[in-house]
Amino acid sequence: MLNYDIVVIGGGPAGMAAALKAKECGVDSILILERAESLGGILEQCIHTGFGLHYFGEELSGPEYADRFIKLVHEQKIEYKVDTMALEITDTNVVYAINKTDGLLEIQAKAVILAMGCRERPRGALNIAGTRASGVMSAGTAQKYVNIDGYMPGKKVVILGSGDIGLIMARRMTLEGAEVKIVCELMPYSSGLTRNIVQCLDDFGIPLRLSCTVIDIHGEGRVEGVTIADVDENRRPIPGTEQYIECDTLLLSVGLIPENELTRAVGIDLDPVTSGAIVDEYRETSHPGVFACGNVLHVHDLVDYVTLESQTAGEGAANYVLGKKAEAAYIATKGVNGVRYIVPQKVNLNNGNDVKLYFRVGQTYKNAAISVKYNGEEILRRKRPRLAPGEMENVILKKEMLEKFEADGLIEIGVEV
């Protein structure tokens, strides 16, 4: 049995930032477990720029953003194991993991930080009819083929879903000589960042068709084409709008799901909206000493926010290990009137710090306001010229404000038009 103060599961941006912060807070015994062959996580294949604008004030590519943290992990001499798969965490915070050199690892941790990231929704989750021809893959899979392995997975491409990865891949495939025929989006709006729609589609004249989906996939052996159709307000295909599009590749960019198998298995409470753990302001889950941060907690649109959130979790885990955790007096948070979810779902009034609440809306709004209520009474109001589901929002609860609240109170955030 190995012993560490903190075991971090996942060596992507979340895991590295959490580990570094815990170290800075005075915990020396830290181990990061990473499934891939190197640290960096999904950033390694996100070669486009635009990362780090908030955190570093400059525009970096994914690998460059990751490299800054990888360097710090080395400088701070934080231990890590790559090619290592975490299999289980127990209710006494023992982590089981496996790799080729150590075999089975049994690690007793005082605190565990979950930073496993998320996974793309596959074709099977959509129930698209049609043949099982090759050439249907997630946008992230195609991204790995092109950017890490150096292979082009197709020449004529249809993309279903206008999430950021789909948009980024539309540009990437075009730059490498493929013809991207259309991007279809089921919803009446794109969940991707505006700048990605401009830079990845508009710049190359790639059409984006909203309220539209793929209803059939054709081809034996290899994809030969897809049938698309417009959908009504209930997202059902409208008969008569079917259109055949010849292509050899269908990329799916239809959502991300936090990868919470380990979390679920140990019985940690999950939020049905985020599909991540229910956490407090330090990102501690319902299981004492287990923290979660980054895309495993809720899917982020910007890595900068992943870094900030993970630092919070790292600090919380360090406090837990060093016995500095404040006595609990929780208030709950709840999204209402168009706010789909809030992270954290609860806030400890005794922590003595400002608390940032992150949340996401369910549709687009113009000239709206964010209203924050405590037990039904408005305590904060913020104007927002533009709100979109693809862009995470936040409000800060000042510590002076928190001091006036009482345990078991309720904070509600809603949109008002």
Binding site: E44, I47, H48, T49, G50, L53, E59, L60, S61, P63, E64, D67, V146, N147, I148, D149, G150, Y151, R172, L175, E176, L193, T194, R195, I197, V198, Q199, D203, D301, L302, R386, E391
Partner: protein
């Protein structure tokens, strides 16, 4: 003449309106919420530029390609020409992050630099 631009300087995506005179002179820039937006809208109307991120083939490395980017923004109209130049190049591993892979691409004064490490196999 009016030109509507969606700013891509940051994830905000502000809608900016640029008033142009008949001779193409910029009369006003409105709708931006920061200085970078103003600069972006002016450039977009006169000399649109984009940064380019792609990969370069590597021989003898742990991967077949290494990611790279333009160290500065390139003229928007030259992006596909730059891609042709980059895809004709083959770099010998090892490559370190920050290495200049193609100096002064197409005489633009902009270098193509590696954005990750690619150790030799």
């Amino acid at each position: 003449m009016q030109k509507n631009i969606i700013c891509v300087a940051c994830p905000m995506g502000c809608g900016i309106t640029v008033e142009l005179s008949d001779s193409g002179e910029i009369l006003s820039v409105t709708g931006n919420t920061c200085k970078r937006g103003d600069a972006y809208a002016r450039t977009e109307c006169t000399n649109p530029v984009r940064s380019l991120a792609t990969t370069v083939r590597v021989t003898g490395g742990v991967h077949n390609v290494v990611p790279c980017k333009s160290a500065g923004a390139l003229p928007k109209g030259k992006i596909m020409d730059c891609m042709a130049v980059i895809n004709a190049v083959d770099i010998q591993a090892p490559v370190a992050l920050g290495d200049v892979l193609i100096p002064d691409i197409l005489g633009t004064g902009i270098d193509i630099v590696a954005t990750n490490h690619c150790p030799a196999k």
